[in-house]
């Protein structure tokens, strides 16, 4: 049963990722990315990381993708021409590089997977809110506060950049 769920979620994740890269409309790309995030959250649930599954949906599919959609609709970008309308050397090289990196990663995973130590199944029960929170608020308290500072700085920086008045006559090309 778990295998079927894994296969379903994996196919959904890969298909939505491919559709995101291929689709012409930017809004469709963003919605396919939301589908990809949701299927990844399901995979996190399969891995017994319940807290991260909830956080994935809340932060990524909820907050970040809403921000993306807001910017897309604010900018009103026109559709690109189709990705496969004409052959270009750039696309060919990009696919070649992608396949090369993928085969390299698969080779390294295949050669190192026998070296992983076997862990008793009763140990693999970490990932609930209690387990994550206990470590997060004791051992990782300082990085947690630094993340808060980073988010505040990011919001301030984004406001500064997006509000910047452009001087008339100054061109950028």
């Amino acid at each position: 049963m778990i295998t079927y769920i894994f296969v379903f979620l994996a196919v959904l994740a890969v298909a939505s990722a491919l559709a995101m890269v291929i689709s012409k409309n930017t809004v469709n790309s963003a919605l396919f990315l939301v589908l990809n995030m949701v299927s990844l959250a399901g995979l996190f649930l399969l891995l017994k990381a319940q807290f991260l599954a909830v956080i994935q949906i809340l932060v990524y599919a909820g907050a970040i993708m809403v921000l993306f959609l807001f910017v897309i609709m604010l900018l009103n970008v026109e559709d690109e021409e189709s990705l496969f309308s004409r052959f270009r050397v750039k696309y060919f090289v990009a696919f070649l590089v992608g396949i090369a990196v993928f085969s390299q990663l698969l080779y390294s995973i295949g050669s190192f997977s026998e070296m992983l130590p076997e862990v008793a199944p009763e140990m693999t029960e970490a990932g609930t809110v209690e387990a994550v929170g206990e470590v997060l608020y004791s051992q990782y308290l300082l990085p947690f506060h630094i993340i808060a500072l980073l988010l505040t700085a990011a919001v301030n920086g984004a406001l500064m950049i997006a509000q910047h008045k452009i001087k008339p006559g100054a061109s950028n090309d």
Binding site: I2, F6, V14, A17, M20, V21, T26, S29, A30, L33, N36, L40, F44, L47, A49, L52, I55, V59, A63, I64, L67, L75, V77, E80, L83, K90, Y91, V93, A94, F95, V97, G98, I99, V101, F102, L106, I109, G110, S113, V119, A120, M123, T124, A126, G127, A131, V132, V135, L136, Y140, I147, L150, L151, V155, A158, I161, A162, I166, N172, D173
Partner: protein, 100 residues
């Protein structure tokens, strides 16, 4: 229980799809979403290792990566808005001021 290899292979596949997207697309917003896809793929491999070892540290790292990704998305989208205001396009081929 599914072997960790399948999760790692799925993570590698998603990473490569995101990388091809970054290399192929011209729209800056879609490139940015492909970068988010690559971040997610790495998060999946971190969570699968964390679940395999029964150690929660990997999930803490994913939590921090999520927070940094949120900050990065905010700043990156602000930069995209600034670029769009300057030359009314998000096509990265038009943004070649600093190209050598």
């Amino acid at each position: 229980m599914i072997s960790i290899d399948w999760f790692l292979a799925l993570s590698a596949l998603l990473f490569c799809v995101g990388m091809i997207g970054v290399l192929v697309r011209k729209n800056a917003i879609v490139i940015f979403m492909c970068v988010e896809l690559m971040l997610n793929a790495v998060n999946l491999s971190l969570v699968s290792f964390s679940s395999h070892y029964g150690n929660v540290d990997g999930q803490i790292l994913v939590f921090f990566a999520l927070a940094v990704a949120a900050a990065e998305a905010v700043v990156g989208l602000a930069i995209i808005i600034a670029i769009f205001r300057n030359n009314l396009s998000v096509d990265i081929n038009n943004v070649n001021l600093m190209r050598w």
